[in-house]
Point group: C2
Chain length 153, copies 2
């Protein structure tokens, strides 16, 4: 299996940064997705929706989820179908706007999310504690904030 790897010397520092970001992001996402699916039968896209719901105490309009998460609005629609079928979220028509749907986690949803978030942390902990130090984590946080501010601005 003589896999020839790309040697670092062949790439510029910006290329390093780019490929590092992409590779690390997809690898970690896959890792978390497998862990969540195996432990709770919960794809990571479902988890992401639940995360946003869990972080806001108020019910959230579906359109907000479509704009905030990395999922498209149509995907949010289908994920909500699935979550609702499992009794994890509730969809109630908005009182103010008859077009809008207020989405919220049910008690079972909150419970499952807590467990799922624990497995996510457990799955990620080895990577973030063993191979990365506090300085790396801080740097990544900084990068995120900068990129997010750049996109919004």
């Amino acid at each position: 299996m003589a896999t020839r790897k790309l040697t670092p010397a062949e790439m510029s520092e910006a290329d390093h940064a780019f490929y590092g970001l992409v590779w690390a992001g997809t690898t970690l996402t896959e890792r978390v997705d497998r862990a969540l699916t195996k432990a709770h039968d919960l794809p990571v896209s479902w988890f992401e929706v639940m995360l946003w719901l869990a972080n806001s105490q108020q019910p959230v309009a579906a359109s907000v989820l479509g704009n905030s998460t990395m999922l498209s609005r149509s995907q949010v629609s289908r994920v909500l179908d699935a979550l609702q079928a499992r009794g994890l979220v509730s969809r109630t028509p908005s009182a103010r706007d008859a077009r809008s749907v207020e989405v919220a986690l049910t008690p079972q949803g909150r419970e499952l999310f807590a467990e799922a978030d624990a497995t996510r942390r457990a799955c990620l902990a080895p990577v973030f504690t063993d191979v990365l130090d506090q300085q790396d984590l801080a740097a990544l946080g900084t990068v995120w904030r900068k990129l997010k501010a750049h996109k919004e601005g």
Copy 2:
């Protein structure tokens, strides 16, 4: 469009790092994919295969691509079909191993790759020069190397 964002204070530093990595990776990939598709009708997955071929002067076995890139072997197979149909790569049976297929960039493939890599850099440059500094880039490179070493070990 009152999108409620997740406030940084609600998350730990490790969560910052994780979501930052995932978000930045997918966002940048999308950005590059759109640029490459628009300019050269070249999806980023095709580009990635060409990148690995371009970086190794020797012809490469298809299995190597499957193990080195972030694509599955089956995906590599289909991408090679498409690239071959456009005359960008050549697939020749290996002389040593009749199962194996040696893949290499054609002259047109090399030419298109050079152009595509230029648009990739042009597309990424604003982000990497405007919002990130040398320290950030170095930190990302370090993270990549650490994670890759961890996975291989």
